[in-house]
Symmetry: C2
């Protein structure tokens, strides 16, 4: 088969790769229905995150089970499954506490921008869709569950969004936009999306944003204070991962409020004393998508949510390099790839 490999900044190649096969008895091999490019793929693509050599890319996936290892019990060939970007046995203590993305058997998935994919810890990582294969129109939304929706959902959960909350979402990438959707599902009464891009503002409103703030930095914080009677927001979803976005998130939160952060913080340092006097709750990390998958799949299948709308570009898999370019240049929010 052919698969996607990053050779260096801006250098994405779709090239011959070995066909995946069962290595461990707990593995499954999937034939993917769809995969996509993640905002986090842009960090190494832009050279901000260094790579050690040619790196096979992709960690979002859904599709059909082709084959399973001898120790796999619940996952069966022929099933349509969605899996997390982080593998998990779903039985260790961390998994049982709901932190499957800190599983003792965690691996961060790679190689998913390809037609076939080996998934370790199949029983603990994959969730079959109830009722068999979904209609083709649902594939984008099911694919979104694998990371981008699950991550936005975790941001809202970590930010303690509750019915009636005022939530702020920092970041108008796909995760931020699905953070808006998640906050809406969790009952936020007011959702302030930070965006200066018209198409993204529009989608944010469609997903449930009640207010848009286009300012940045201190001006943004001042604007949010204005919108919240000087108090600050109950819940802030940090979906970027830069120092500026994090400071903006902490500044927008009321004392006693919650910051949920899901963008990998690149070069961010928190000053202890500043955080102390801010009185915020801080929680985040790689989203435990596996915890949320059954619920998210249900919400997609019963038509409650349509997170697949973040895919505003669909390409045949072999044009993956164009997907990266379009997202890098912010011409696309998120590129879906069809093998």
């Amino acid at each position: 088969m052919k698969g996607t490999v990053l050779y260096g900044p801006g250098d994405i190649r779709f090239e011959d790769r070995e066909d995946p096969k069962i290595i461990e008895p707990t593995d499954a091999v999937l034939r993917l229905a769809a995969t996509c490019v993640c905002g986090s793929d842009l960090w190494p693509y832009r050279g901000i995150e260094k790579i050690k050599g040619p790196t096979p890319m992709g960690h979002e996936y859904c599709g059909f089970v082709e084959e399973v290892g001898s120790a796999v019990k619940s996952i069966k060939p022929g099933q349509f499954v969605v899996g997390s970007f982080a593998t998990s046995d779903n039985t260790c203590a961390h998994c049982r506490y709901g932190y499957q993305s800190s599983c003792v058997h965690r691996e961060f998935m790679l190689r998913a921008q390809a037609p076939f994919l080996r998934v370790p810890q199949a029983d603990g990582t994959l969730v079959p869709t109830p009722g068999g294969a979904p209609s083709d129109g649902l594939i984008p939304s099911l694919l979104a569950c694998s990371d981008v929706l699950g991550t936005g959902w975790f941001a809202a959960d970590a930010a303690n969004v509750k019915p009636g909350s005022t939530a702020v979402v920092v970041g108008d990438g796909a995760v931020g936009l699905l953070g808006v959707l998640s906050a809406k599902q969790m009952g936020a009464e007011r959702i302030i999306a930070m965006s200066r891009h018209e198409s993204r503002q529009k989608l944010a409103r469609e997903f449930g944003a009640t207010d848009i703030v286009a300012e940045r930095g201190e001006e943004a914080v001042a604007r949010i204070k204005d919108l919240t009677k000087g108090i600050g927001a109950d819940s802030v979803l940090e979906c970027v991962g830069t120092k500026e976005s994090m400071m903006q998130a902490i500044g927008a939160t009321r004392p006693g409020g919650y910051v949920g952060y899901v963008g990998v913080p690149h070069g961010v340092e928190f000053k202890g004393e500043e955080l102390f006097y801010r009185h915020v709750h801080l929680h985040g990390g790689p989203a435990p998508v596996r915890r949320y998958l059954p619920k998210l799949i249900d919400l997609v299948l019963n038509g409650t949510i349509n997170p697949g709308k973040v895919f505003d570009l669909t390409l045949p898999l072999e044009q993956v390099a164009e997907g990266y370019r379009a997202m890098d240049e912010r011409r696309a929010i998120k590129a879906l790839l069809r093998p």
Copy 2:
């Protein structure tokens, strides 16, 4: 009257001061039954925290209301009251959310190591003891509510201690020891106190510690992992405020667990990426003691808790300098001062 003033590192003087009087109509003036030296007073005493000039000291207090301003409604002369180290109107949005130590009218108290004390925002800061003046034997425990117990209680609350939790307490100062007591009250099943001082270990056990860890740094983290089947603790109370203690606290927490931190973090910086992959919840700040005061006073008055045991040295107020010395040299856990 005479009061306590810090002139520079190690230089505590008990000297003539103006008698406190009502300045704002929301003020009260108290005649103190007791006051004490706080662990945080040692930061400037040791010269680690710079002072700008002679600084009147003390922020823990309880005693009798002498006089109230014209706008004070609920607090009356003659009442015995306990107040927080941070003033609050108890009506602003932050107060209503339970973060009175971020009140829009917050002032951090000073000048309490004296026989008389002006307290701003009397109605929102002070809590009268039900049933009139308490017996003399209860004064140390009521005084403890003013900061040291309230702060330990907040550490446990911020660390999300629940019935059945495993809690670790970093720091064997008075706050840490009362963090142990608080975790016990909140139902922690296992309480691991970190201490290498025999007298403090003894008091920790008396307050509810089930295990003592004398190691520090990475060894301490390894020991706690051993004690928790390799998982880490649900709740860690950080009651010191140094980089070492904070890293120890974060390292001892399981993914998804909670760090409650109440020591002012001096020169602590959190690396965003490290925190991200640790998956911990982080919350802390100046304790909203006012939120807890009614409950803590009840627990003292009905004999459920005896936090006054942390005072292992009682001195006449005029010997305040000896109280500082004894605590600085760790000869005393905490010094109570009687005017």
